[in-house]
């Protein structure tokens, strides 16, 4: 599929770890937790994008923990934007850069414009702004780093938190075992389906399949127009597990099928880890390794398994588009 897309013909994708660029643009100075996969999402997009890039980071743990005054980890220009400002910040930068290039006020060269926003920012408060950005015709990439909570505010549930998870907004009580009853928003398809001009939308896990995420960043930046990548980032603090298991949990999220990884290139879905018609690991093997699901009983595991099964076996596009075939039209 990638080879067929004109805009992606010249993209130099990473093939094997030795082909990955050595320079780092997100380095020491941040104060993220041990085992923080969101920090890896930062490091890897900066590497894949390279130095001719400007970045905004919306309020979230990757603002608060990432950029302390006078110890910035960023070697590329970076600026804070508000929790719900991610999409608009990218539009503002891209519009400014386009106007200045056209009017000869800065050198006429391609500058990557990237915003990263968390699940709380992009998925809830900033969803309108994200939609506005995706409706624009500017070259920009929004990376939604999703660790399924307000991870710097004491781990509160967001609209993208897994059903049933224990957070400080959804504590387990004597009467109510499950407090967080919202099903995770299907963010990437929502953007792809609702914004037909968007040429590239993807989901990814930083570490699995290897290099998949970095190559998706390269493709998003090369294809042009507004693009979005939604990453699932295991979070030791919020998900309650030992930091050494972050990569394993990311891999399990993909292999159990609870977080399908794919790209939607000009309307076509390409699975980068294809589980269609294949045996998936039981979702329980992913959930029971996390303390946030310690209160689960068999029926909770079964419920989530049934929803994941439905996603892969009954949806029009497995794991992606939440309709079953034969959608009825009123006569």
């Amino acid at each position: 599929m990638v080879k067929e897309v004109e805009e992606l013909k010249d993209v130099k994708l990473y093939k094997g770890v030795h082909s990955i660029d050595l320079p780092e643009y997100y380095t020491s100075g941040h104060r993220t937790c041990q085992g923080c996969e969101s920090a890896l999402v930062m490091r890897d997009f900066a590497k894949a994008a390279g130095p001719r890039t400007v970045v905004t980071g919306a309020t979230g743990c990757m603002y608060v923990a990432n950029t302390s005054y006078m110890t910035t980890p960023w070697l590329i220009p970076w600026m804070h934007t508000q929790l719900a400002g991610g999409g608009a910040s990218a539009v503002g930068m891209a519009a400014g850069i386009r106007a200045l290039r056209r009017k000869g006020k800065i050198k006429d060269e391609k500058i990557n414009v990237i915003n990263f926003s968390g699940d709380l920012g992009a998925g809830d408060a900033g969803l309108g702004g994200l939609s506005g950005a995706m409706q624009s015709d500017y070259d920009l990439l929004v990376i939604v780093y999703d660790n399924e909570s307000a991870a710097n505010t004491d781990i509160q549930a967001s609209g993208l938190t897994t059903y049933g998870a224990q957070t400080t907004f959804s504590p387990v009580g004597k009467v109510h075992r499950i407090m967080h009853k919202r099903w995770k928003k299907n963010l990437a398809p929502m953007i792809a389906v609702g914004h037909p001009n968007v040429k590239y939308v993807a989901t990814a896990v930083a570490t699995f399949p290897p290099m998949d995420y970095m190559n998706k960043v390269k493709k998003a930046l090369a294809i042009g127009g507004p693009t979005m990548i939604h990453t699932l980032d295991p979070c030791p603090k919020g998900w309650d597990y030992h930091p050494r298991y972050s990569h394993d949990l990311g891999e399990l999220a993909v292999k159990t099928g609870i977080f399908p990884v794919y790209e939607i290139i000009k309307g076509k879905v390409v699975y980068t880890y294809d589980l269609r018609g294949k045996k998936r690991e039981p979702v329980r093997s992913y959930l029971e390794k996390q303390g946030r699901f310690a209160h689960f009983i068999d029926e909770d595991y079964e419920y989530i398994q049934s929803k994941v099964d439905e996603m892969w076996e009954e949806w029009e596009i497995p794991g992606v588009v939440p309709f079953s075939s034969g959608l009825e039209v009123e006569k």
Partner: protein, 402 residues
């Protein structure tokens, strides 16, 4: 400026236009790079005009219709951060919806320019003027001025860009105007040539604070308790420096455009030898001046002082202007529920500013014209009389139904 011998040559035309159209012309002549819109009455007509300029090829800019005011102002802020001259605007609750972005634009010291078409806050819905919306930013680091004619709106917008972008200032600027009364009423405006405007307004440069790959800086990192106070003090010092830059900008504006602004901050009518003075901002100036002239004709020693710049606040200028005045009445086209002495917003600023004067005047507050209600000549006359009378209560609602 000696090179401009013939003042007429700096003007291209003189046209009848509304206050918002005048601002649109100033934005066009300032050659903005990015403007972002979202509709709400009554400021919106500035964006109608700018989008038409763009469609007609009279303006080379990026134009974004945002998904809401919060995004609109974030777009303006971040366009400004990469070195683009930007313009936004709003009214009433739209301005408030953007408030988070509005505040960070100031704390990030980005010289974005915005038009506020003053409008009553919801609920209940009303299109008419109340100045509470713009006054919401008086303490957070926005430069804030009110215009009362379309010509003044045009001039103040250009001057605002100049002051906001000055390297010694770098603060956002809001030009406010009364919804309806100025946004939609037409006056004659002299439009200068592009060349003349370029002489006054240098290109925008954010210097070493611009976000560009050649300048890999980190902007607004988390500081917590370690540095916030020092940064607030820096913002504050910039606001203080703006006073001097405003004087400088008006001096040059007068020279290039023969504009005749005496004091940039305040405009006095018969204040010098007056016993009783009313102070107001925005369109109330027209009716207040008219009544002042009437009363002078009747031999009454009254004056009117129009405030143009509200932030930075002209404390010394007011003290000087009012040094021989016995009675001062403040016209508040805003409300302040259950505040000190039950007065409205601006009254406290004036009273506090004048408190240390040796012969400070007696002061009373008039809350008038809320929600766009007209302030009549009879009411201004009444306000003058009440200001003069020693037993007038401190706070008075004018034109209120019994």
């Amino acid at each position: 400026m000696n090179e401009i011998q013939n003042v007429k040559s700096v003007f291209e035309s003189e046209e009848l236009m509304s206050g918002t159209e005048a601002v649109a012309h100033a934005v066009r002549l300032a050659d903005v790079d990015v403007f972002a819109a979202y509709p709400i009455r009554p400021y919106t007509s500035v964006m109608d005009k700018l989008s038409k300029f763009l469609a007609d090829g009279l303006l080379d800019a990026e134009y974004i219709v945002a998904d809401g005011e919060h995004s609109q102002f974030e777009i303006g802020k971040h366009a400004s951060s990469v070195g683009a001259r930007a313009f936004v605007g709003s009214s009433g609750v739209g301005w408030l919806y953007a408030m988070e972005a509005i505040v960070v634009t100031a704390t990030d010291r980005l010289p974005l320019v915005a038009l506020v078409g003053n409008r009553a806050l919801d609920d209940p819905g009303a299109f008419g003027v109340e100045q509470n919306d713009a006054l919401m930013v008086r303490d957070v680091g926005w430069l804030l001025a009110w215009a009362s004619t379309a010509q003044e709106a045009f001039d103040t917008t250009l001057i605002g860009y100049r002051v906001a972008e000055d390297p010694k200032v770098r603060m956002p600027f809001a030009i406010a105007m009364d919804g309806g009364y100025l946004t939609h009423s037409e006056h004659l405006v002299k439009l200068p040539t592009k060349e003349a405007v370029n002489k006054f307004l240098p290109p925008y440069s954010l210097g070493d604070r611009v976000l560009h790959p050649d300048n890999p800086i980190s902007v607004a990192p988390q500081v917590n308790e370690d540095w916030v106070m020092e940064l607030r003090k820096q913002n504050h010092e910039a606001g203080k420096r703006a006073r001097g830059i405003i004087y400088q900008a008006y001096k040059e504006y007068n020279e290039i455009f023969n504009a005749g602004y005496e004091n940039p901050f305040i405009e006095e009518l018969n204040v010098e030898d007056a016993d009783t003075v009313l102070i107001g901002m925005g369109s109330v100036a027209t009716v207040a001046r008219s009544v002042t002239r009437d009363l002078r004709g009747e031999g009454k020693k009254v004056g009117f002082l129009k405030m143009r710049w509200y932030r930075p606040f002209p404390t010394e200028e007011l003290k000087k202007a009012l040094r021989n005045v016995s009675n001062v009445g403040i016209i508040d086209r805003d409300f302040g529920i259950a505040g000190p002495n039950d007065a409205a917003i601006t009254f406290h600023d004036y009273r506090s500013a004048l408190y240390d004067m040796e012969n400070r005047p007696r002061m009373v507050d008039f809350i008038a014209g809320l929600g766009g209600r007209e302030i009549s000549k009879a009411e201004v006359r009444k306000m003058f009389e009440m200001t003069e009378k020693k037993d007038t209560p401190l706070v008075n609602w004018i034109g209120l139904r019994e």
